[in-house]
Amino acid sequence: MVSIRPLPIPTPNSEPFWNGLANHQVNLQQCNDCRAWVFYPRSHCNGCLSPNLTWRKVAGNGTLYTYTVARRPTAPQFIDETPQLIAVVELNEGVRLNSVMVNVLPEALFIGMPVKPVFHQQDSATLLYFEPA
């Protein structure tokens, strides 16, 4: 039996992020007070707790901070995608996010590799995957 992939369910705070991905753009929040970039989307800046955050469109480029090749599925819902190339990407703005590397062989991955976004359609959601830049 193939399990259904879990999809994000946007919240009022995160809708601009997920709507951005659906339109193939990366939107991040930036704090008007301390200028910190904020990820994941929040009601308040996690640098200074200011509620004055502005959504900005960014390029979405970054580097591979770390990755693993999960040879056993991390959950049954991912069994069709083994091995999973689970990645943590650091965007050029300095924030980090979970992702998946695509269009690359596991052996070609290296930490520090420049990466660029891939807008991956997963059922009804658009997820932010990455590929070598």
Binding site: R5, P6, L7, P8, I9, P10, T11, S14, Y40, Y65, T66, Y67, T68, V69, A70, R71, R72, P73, T74, A75, Q77, F78, E81, Q84, I86, V88, R96, L97, N98, S99, V100, P106, F110, I111, G112, Q122, A125, L127
Partner: protein
């Protein structure tokens, strides 16, 4: 600041760890009663001495766990706490108990972590769909549900693999040194008949030839889940003097929480155990060189490596050399997880895995670790790790 070292652990209890448990299934409440009875008997105390308890969540009652336990055991307590710090819960229960005792609000606190299977419910409830990813929350509004789960970064293996890969890229890696941690601990388990791997020593090549789960973690670098459970009794100085074994004083503690998902850690190669251990050492007036044994939470080999470095036993980035140059066995130059740790003895279900480390530290200092006793063992550092390096706690134990 902090503890004055006037609360002591005087009794411990644990079940034998079993991989395929076929014994009588027991509710957590039954295990609480049994473990408490065993730990009090070990201390030489009676139920009437108990006036405090620290627990983790129990399956029988989503809320009000302490009152449910107090009622079942017939206890009236002045101090009760449900600790929700994952694998760090047990160590954190113990310092909370010691602090409450030093404040004078109670004199004998039971801290227990059951982990035997509970009876099968004849009318099972449907599985909660928000809990299908284990400890990773899939509830709406949880950042994990939105930014971890859809990308497959769920449960523990991937998170610790991500840490190990980053460590390797930053400081270099030697898979044989990481494997040696599992091997030395497995050697220690040969002195512990309650360990799941008692009678099954391994070699470095066994570890490196075992199945790769998530690069660079082999299956023998990952804990084996099992049935088990354990408890300790923490008492005042006054009661400690009446107990039958050498009292083991809690002389320092520290706790540090940073992120739930390690993705957002400032530096993924640095464990919050650093500030926790530094606090524990400062409070006790001890330095890393003063402890005779390290009982380190060991969900993975990388966890032990980072705990050794960040607790100050060697410089950052030198853990691999340290592990290669030291024997981590009970008779080695730097004894670690002398009961086998959770890698060698098994990780009992619930929060019980993390109670095995303090129980072993107590047994070592009491001089009751038959078959694996460290010579002249008077002080120990015990650590707990919850989530994916999310929650860290540390205590220093010292013999009277």
């Amino acid at each position: 600041m902090g503890l004055k070292g006037r609360a002591a652990i005087t009794g411990v209890a644990d079940y034998k760890n079993v991989r395929n448990y076929t014994g009588k299934r027991k509710f957590f409440l039954e295990q609480w009663a049994e473990l408490t009875q065993m730990a009090l008997a070990d201390a030489g105390l009676s139920k009437h001495d108990v006036d405090g308890l620290c627990c983790a969540a129990i399956p029988e009652s989503t809320m009000f766990a302490p009152a449910t336990i107090a009622e079942y055991l017939g206890l009236q307590v002045n101090f009760a706490e449900t600790v929700d710090l994952g694998g760090a819960s047990s160590v954190s229960m113990i310092w909370r108990a010691a602090a409450a005792i030093e404040m004078g609000i109670c004199e004998a606190v039971v801290c227990a972590a059951p982990g035997l299977p509970i009876p099968s419910n004849p009318n099972p409830l449907p599985k909660d769909p928000s809990r299908v990813y284990g400890s990773t929350s899939a509830k709406w509004g949880s950042p994990q549900a939105e930014y971890d789960v859809p990308y497959g970064n769920v449960a523990q293996n991937a998170g610790y693999a991500l840490i190990a890969q980053r460590y390797a890229a930053t400081y270099g890696y030697d898979e044989r040194a990481l494997a040696k941690i599992a091997v030395d601990q497995r050697t220690n388990a040969q002195g512990n008949p309650k360990a799941v791997f008692f009678g099954e020593p391994i070699t470095i090549d066994d570890v490196l030839q075992s199945k790769m789960i998530a690069d660079p973690l082999h299956i023998l670098e990952i804990v084996m889940p099992c049935a088990g459970g354990s408890a300790v009794v923490v008492v005042s100085e006054r009661l400690a003097k009446k107990c039958q074994h050498r009292p083991v004083y809690v002389t320092g503690f520290g706790e540090r929480l940073t992120t739930r998902s390690v993705t957002y850690a400032d530096d993924m190669t640095v464990s919050p155990v650093g500030p926790a251990a530094a606090s524990a050492f400062a409070m006790s007036g001890k330095k890393p060189k003063d402890v005779d044994v390290l009982e380190a939470y060991d969900c993975y080999t990388i966890t032990v490596l980072l705990t050794i470095e960040d607790s100050g036993f060697c410089h950052k980035g030198e853990g691999i050399t340290f592990v290669k140059e030291n024997g981590l066995t009970f008779n080695g130059s730097f004894p670690v997880n002398t009961h086998g740790g959770q890698l060698g003895a098994g990780q009992a279900a619930g929060m019980a895995g993390g109670m095995s480390q303090p129980v072993e530290g107590v047994r070592q200092i009491m001089g009751r670790a038959n078959g694996r006793q460290v010579d002249n063992c008077n002080a120990a550092l015990i650590t707990g790790t919850g989530g994916i390096m999310s929650e860290q706690s540390a205590i220093i134990l010292e013999g009277a």
